[in-house]
């Protein structure tokens, strides 16, 4: 009797499949199958559509290749043989831009996050406002009044260095790390559409429209808040004791970072990289404004296919989307082992 009273597992422990009753198993697997179909069907549809002719699409729906319709390679041929230059250019543009933008924002963003999590900053609000004011005035004097930029910059720098402290002493209100962090994250609250025209004009002025650099810089800046936000939390979860201990054990600053901080933040970096990579890879709006032909990315190419003279090219679009999905899936598989490991890091208390 006593064995029946003892619970076999605690309430938060997942039940083993073998211990379930047949009815539970049937319900469970049915639900799982429905969900699987729900998730995978769009991908299946995408794949068969890429092998369809215009007639198969318009007279459909046809579900089974060789039964409902005769698959053809015409869409694949068009994209990779006839128009291969456009396709490959967009593809490589996407790869170069996403990789560079991700690398840049993860590198700078995680350095900022590390500093915010380890150093207590207390900048004076008035000094910051003074700096912004001078920056704006410099811009106005150069842009509107045609002052020589070297002169304007020199005057601004001089004014800042002479007056910063005096102005700061007017009102002693200091910002703290939480304020800085909120300010960085708040950059992401704004919808990108709001700033897209200024960004366009800015790159137009410096003649960088339709270049990789323009899109890379824009993506890196736009994604930086996400990196800082995620990595700040992550670095905070690494006990400070570990770094102090490493320093007492004779490690240099770089040694501490390489031996302790980097290995422990691998999980967070992997997850953040994947997220930022996906965001850059799929970005449409900013790329639409900043690129015309040379720097065109995959989302733009796909979108262009439903606006041509020949109507909506579902088959070509499917091909483009399939090749677009592949790198992201591959990256997710590579990074997955690091991400799932993340659950263990917190379990090991310094």
């Amino acid at each position: 009797m006593s064995t029946q009273l003892t619970p076999k597992r605690s309430i938060f422990e997942a039940p083993a499949i073998g211990q379930m009753s047949m009815a539970t198993k049937i319900v469970l697997y049915t639900l799982l199958l429905i969900w699987t179909a729900f998730v995978l069907f769009p991908i299946y549809w995408l794949i068969i559509t890429s092998f369809k002719d215009a007639a198969d699409v318009n007279q459909g729906p046809f579900f089974l290749p060789f039964v409902d319709f005769q698959p053809s390679l015409h869409a694949w041929k068009e994209l990779f043989v006839t128009d291969y230059e456009d396709t490959l250019r967009a593809y490589f543009n996407s790869i170069i831009i996403s990789l560079s933008a991700t690398g840049l924002s993860v590198l700078i963003g995680s350095m900022a996050a590390y500093a915010l999590s380890r150093v207590a900053y207390a900048p004076n609000l008035i000094t910051i406002l003074f700096f912004i004011f001078l920056l704006a005035m410099t811009g106005v004097s150069i842009g509107i009044y045609g002052v020589d930029w070297r002169l304007a910059a020199a005057v601004a720098v001089a004014l800042f260095f002479f007056l910063a402290r005096a102005v700061g002493n007017l009102y002693q209100f200091r910002l703290h790390n939480g304020d800085i962090l909120f300010w960085i994250i708040s950059q992401r609250i704004l919808a990108p559409i709001v700033v897209v025209v200024p960004i366009y004009m800015m790159f137009q002025t410096v003649r960088l429209l339709d270049t990789h650099i323009a899109i890379i810089i824009t993506y890196a800046v736009v994604n930086m808040p996400i990196v800082v936000w995620l990595m700040y939390d992550f670095f905070n979860s690494i006990p400070r004791d570990l770094e102090e201990s490493a320093q007492l054990d004779g490690a240099t600053m770089i040694g501490t970072f390489r031996e302790i901080v980097l290995p422990l933040s691998r999980t967070g970096l992997a997850a953040t990289t994947l997220l930022v990579m996906i965001l850059s890879w799929n970005e449409y709006l900013l790329a639409l404004f900043l690129s015309t032909t040379k720097a065109q990315t995959m989302p733009i190419l796909v979108a262009a296919m439903n606006a041509g003279e020949r109507g909506i090219l579902w088959w070509s679009m499917s091909v483009a989307i399939i090749v677009m999905i592949i790198p992201v899936v591959a990256l997710a598989i590579v990074l997955q082992k690091y991400i799932s490991k993340g659950l263990l890091v917190g379990a090991v208390k310094g």
Binding site: P239, E244, G250, L264, G350
Partner: protein, 371 residues
């Protein structure tokens, strides 16, 4: 133990160094966390910094380690002024309260980390790791990760990592506080043995007076950033410098009665008795330790009080009495019997009475205690 035998007993070489703390201060903005701390620690000495939480003892330790800057004052390790020196050049090892083991490194890698940073060869590291691990009895766990170890084993890894480099100074920040009571007792004994064997100057921070009494050559008792008393465990226990030290040391703590002394007579709340050799004072606290007094019949002792509770702890009986609402604890032999609610007398030898200024808490010595 001479320096030579110390060196022979250890896997790597190194000699214990004296530490000299001179007028050390720490400010956090306007907050004065540590006030004019001056202590000379002898080479090979085991010094314990003892005090309640927030008394500045951990701050002082972190300043000696170099993890906190020294606002003013000087710190010397050996003959070298290290006030402005980076932690890694101070030749110290520290055991943290959290152990601070690197969770992604194995036990062997954790222990060998200081040598790896010192650019030792893999063979040197390997043999030193084995020696250190044997010393703390961790030999068979070298391939595990810290997450797979128990609290006591993690503690040993932290110790092995501290001793492997054979530093001149050990710093320990409440290293035993995360262990359960039994393990804490064992580790305390092992720590003491190991420190004696290696002869390394050690500064140990704790809020546990038992640890302080058992481990220390000398105890430094701190409160609110100020050093209250520095002395051997016996000195701080039997000759406390002020009211705080007297009340902090001892378990159960010292009993106090407030009153005044006029012409060799103490008159306080509910008690009046003769105190030979004590100078007149308007406000005074009289203290006596629970183990220095005895319960006698009503009227036969120095004062009478009502028995409040009787607690049997196994090896002794703790009797709590109330004197006008203030508790007084008396330690009696385990066979002692008394009922709660009765009135009893308390007596003690006059030399076991301690007098403190009621306002400042400073010790007031009788003529017998001064000599």
């Amino acid at each position: 133990m001479t320096a030579e035998t110390i060196q022979n007993a250890s896997p790597t070489t190194g000699t214990a160094k004296a530490i000299s703390i001179r007028d050390m201060n720490k400010y956090y903005g306007a907050f004065h966390a540590l006030k004019d701390l001056s202590i000379d620690v002898e080479a090979g000495e085991f010094l314990v910094l003892l005090g309640p939480s927030g008394c500045g003892k951990s701050t002082a330790l972190r300043m000696i380690a170099g993890l906190e800057s020294i606002s003013s004052g000087e710190l010397l390790i050996g003959d070298q002024d290290v006030t402005e020196v980076l932690p890694k050049y101070r030749d110290i090892a520290m055991v943290f309260q959290s152990y601070a083991l690197y969770p992604h490194k194995t036990v062997a890698e954790n222990i060998g980390f200081p040598l790896k940073m010192a650019k030792a060869t893999p063979e040197e590291i390997d043999s030193a790791v084995r020696a250190a691990a044997d010393q703390v009895e961790l030999g068979e766990l070298l391939d595990r990760l810290p997450g797979q170890l128990s609290g006591g084993q993690r503690q040993r890894v932290a110790l092995a990592r501290a001793i492997i480099r054979r530093p001149s100074v050990f710093l320990m920040d409440e290293p035993l506080s995360n262990l359960d009571a039994k393990l804490r007792g064992n580790m305390r004994a092992e720590l003491k043995h190991m420190q004696g064997e290696l002869g390394i100057t050690t500064i140990y921070v704790t809020h546990d007076q038992i640890e302080a009494m058992t481990l220390a050559h000398r105890v430094a008792i701190m409160k609110d950033g100020v050093l209250q008393q520095l002395g051997t465990p016996k000195e701080v226990y039997s000759d406390p410098a002020n009211l705080f030290v007297a009340g902090f040391m001892g378990s159960p703590p010292m009993n106090f009665i407030t009153g005044k002394i006029t012409g060799g007579q103490f008159a306080g709340s509910g008690a009046a008795f003769a105190v030979a050799g004590a100078a007149d004072a308007q406000s005074v606290k009289v203290g006596f330790r629970p183990e220095d007094c005895r319960i006698v019949d009503k009227g036969a002792g120095l004062l009478d009080a009502d028995v409040f509770t009787v607690e049997m702890t196994g090896d002794q009986v703790l009797v709590t009495l109330r004197l006008q609402g203030e508790p007084l604890v008396v330690k009696m032999h385990k066979d002692f019997e008394i009922n709660a609610g009765v009135t009893a007398g308390i007596t003690m030898d006059p030399e076991h009475l301690y007098f403190f200024d009621g306002e400042t808490g400073a010790r007031l010595r009788t003529t017998a205690q001064t000599s």
